[in-house]
C-alpha cells in the first residue's frame, strides 16, 4: 500500500529526482531522502489513448505529464476530461492499475479549482 508518491532528494546537493535514481544526476551522490511530491502543477502535454486492454469499461484513458513548481516533471493518469495545455492541475494519488493481490498507486491529476 503506497498512497504517497515521492521525490528523491540527494542528501549531498539537494537535487530532486522523480523517479528514484541510484546515482544523483547532478553530483554523483548516492544517498537520497524521500520527500512527498504533492500539490499543484501545470499540464505540459496529454493524450487520450483508445486502444485499451480487454475488460476496460471506458472508451479511453487520458494521460498527462505535469510540471511541479519545484521543476520536477512526472507522468500520470488524468482524472478530468477537461484537458488543456498549460492548465493547472492538482496531484492526487490513487489506484492506477489493479494487480493480482497488489494494486499500483500513482498520480491521478485533477483539474485545480
Amino acid at each position: 500500500m503506497q498512497a504517497e508518491i515521492y521525490a528523491y532528494k540527494c542528501t549531498a546537493c539537494g537535487h530532486l529526482h522523480h523517479p528514484a535514481h541510484f546515482v544523483c544526476v547532478k553530483c554523483g551522490g548516492r544517498e537520497f531522502e524521500q520527500v512527498a511530491l504533492t500539490g499543484e502543477g501545470t499540464l505540459v502535454t496529454y493524450t487520450r489513448v483508445y486502444n485499451l486492454p480487454e475488460g476496460y469499461m471506458k472508451p479511453f484513458i487520458a494521460f498527462g505529464i505535469v510540471e511541479f513548481p519545484n521543476g520536477l516533471r512526472a507522468a500520470g493518469q488524468m482524472g478530468t476530461d477537461e484537458l488543456q495545455l498549460g492548465m493547472r492541475v492538482r496531484a492526487e494519488v490513487g489506484v492506477v492499475k489493479e494487480g493480482v493481490g497488489k494494486d499500483f498507486y500513482g498520480f491521478i491529476f485533477q483539474k485545480a479549482e
Partner: protein, 407 residues
Amino acid sequence: MRQVGIVGVGHTKFGKAGVPLVEMLSYAAVEAMDDAGIKTGKGHGIDQVFAATMGGGMINRQHGVASALVDTLNLRPAMAESVENGPASGASAVKLAYMAIASGMCDTALVVGGELMRVVSGWEATDFVATMLHPEAEYNYGLTLPALAGMFTRLYMEKYGVTEKDLAMVAVKNHEHAMHNPVAHIQLVPDLYSITEDEDAIIINPHVAEPLHVYDVCPVSDGAAALVLCAMEAGDRFPKKPVRIAGIGQATDTHAVAERAVSTDLLAVRLAAEKAYAMAGISPREIDVAELHDAFVILEIAESEEAGLFPRGEGHLAVRRGDTKVGGKLPINTSGGLKAKGHPLGATGVSQIVELTRQLRGEAGGRQVAGAKNAMAVNFGGFGNNVIATILTTGGPEKYASGNLRI
C-alpha cells in the same frame, strides 16, 4: 580497426509469417548467404552469428535464439549471441558484428533480426513493448509507446506548427514507397483527403492516442532481415562489391520520458547521429537516402531534424515540399519505413540496413534513388532512450581513413 562491409542481404515478406520464429529467421539468413555467394554446409566461412529479437523470450517463449539458429542452419561451431536492445536490437546486432570484425576476432559474420508478433493479440503486443518503459513512473500507469508518442506529437505540433495533415502526408508517402517494395507488409496507399479532411475521416482513421490516428502508427508485423558482413580486406571473395559501414554512433537518454530537459528533443538521436557522422567523415549534406525509425510518423519528422538532415522545426516543411519522396532532394524511408513496410521489432534495425544496401548497390527497383552513394539509418529504442545511427557508403576507406580513430 579493420574496415567492415556488407556483402549479403536477405529479407522476408513482412506481415504474418505463419512459421515458427527460428524458421522465419532462417529464410532471411539463407537469402543473405545466397546473396553473398556463401554455400550452406561445410566451408560456409561464417565465424559469428548475431540474432536480434526483442520478444523471443516473452512472446514466443524461446530463449537462446542464436544458438538454435546456428544449429538449424548447420553453421556449427560458429560463435553465436542473441541480442536484445528493445526496438534497436537490430542495429545493436549490426554494431556488434561490426566490432567483432573490426577487432580482428572474426572475418565474416551473419546478422539476423526478426520478430514474431502476430501470434499474440494487438493489445498483448502493445503491452509487451511497453515493458521497456520505466516500471514505476510509466508502465504501472498503463502508459504505452503510443501514449508517449501521442504526448510527444502534441508538443511538437504546438511548438513547430506541425499539422495532422503533415503527419498524414508522411504516412501516405511511406505507403507510396512501399508499393515499390515487394517485402513491405502493407501494399495499399491511403487517400490523403479521405484520412484527413473527409467528413468520415475520423471513422476511417480514428484516434489511437490523440492526436495520433491509426494511419500515424506502424502496424504489428512478423518478419526477419539478415546481413552478411565481412572484413573489407576479404571483400573480393564475394560476388558483389561490399557496401562499407562508414560510421556507427549510439547514445542513450533518460528512462522516464518526463525527466527530459526539453520534451520535444530526441537527444539520443542527435548524439548518435553526430558520432556516426564524425566516425564516417561524412556530413549530413552528403547523405543521399535515409531510413528513419517512423514507428509513429512524428518520429520521422523529428529524427530528420535531430540527424541534421533538415533544420530544427522544418522537417514537416520538407515533407510538404516533397523533399523526402523518392525523386525529391533527400528521400526518406524508401522501403516504406516502419509505417508501411512494418515493424517486427528485432528485424527493423537490420531491415533498414538491407534497404540502404540495396539502394547503394542500385538494386532498389522502382524506389531506387538515382546515384545514391551515402546513406543513413536511425534505429530508435525505447521512446528514444537508446538510439543507433549507422552510415553506409560506396566510398572507399582511403578517403575517410582518419575517421576510424574515433572509436
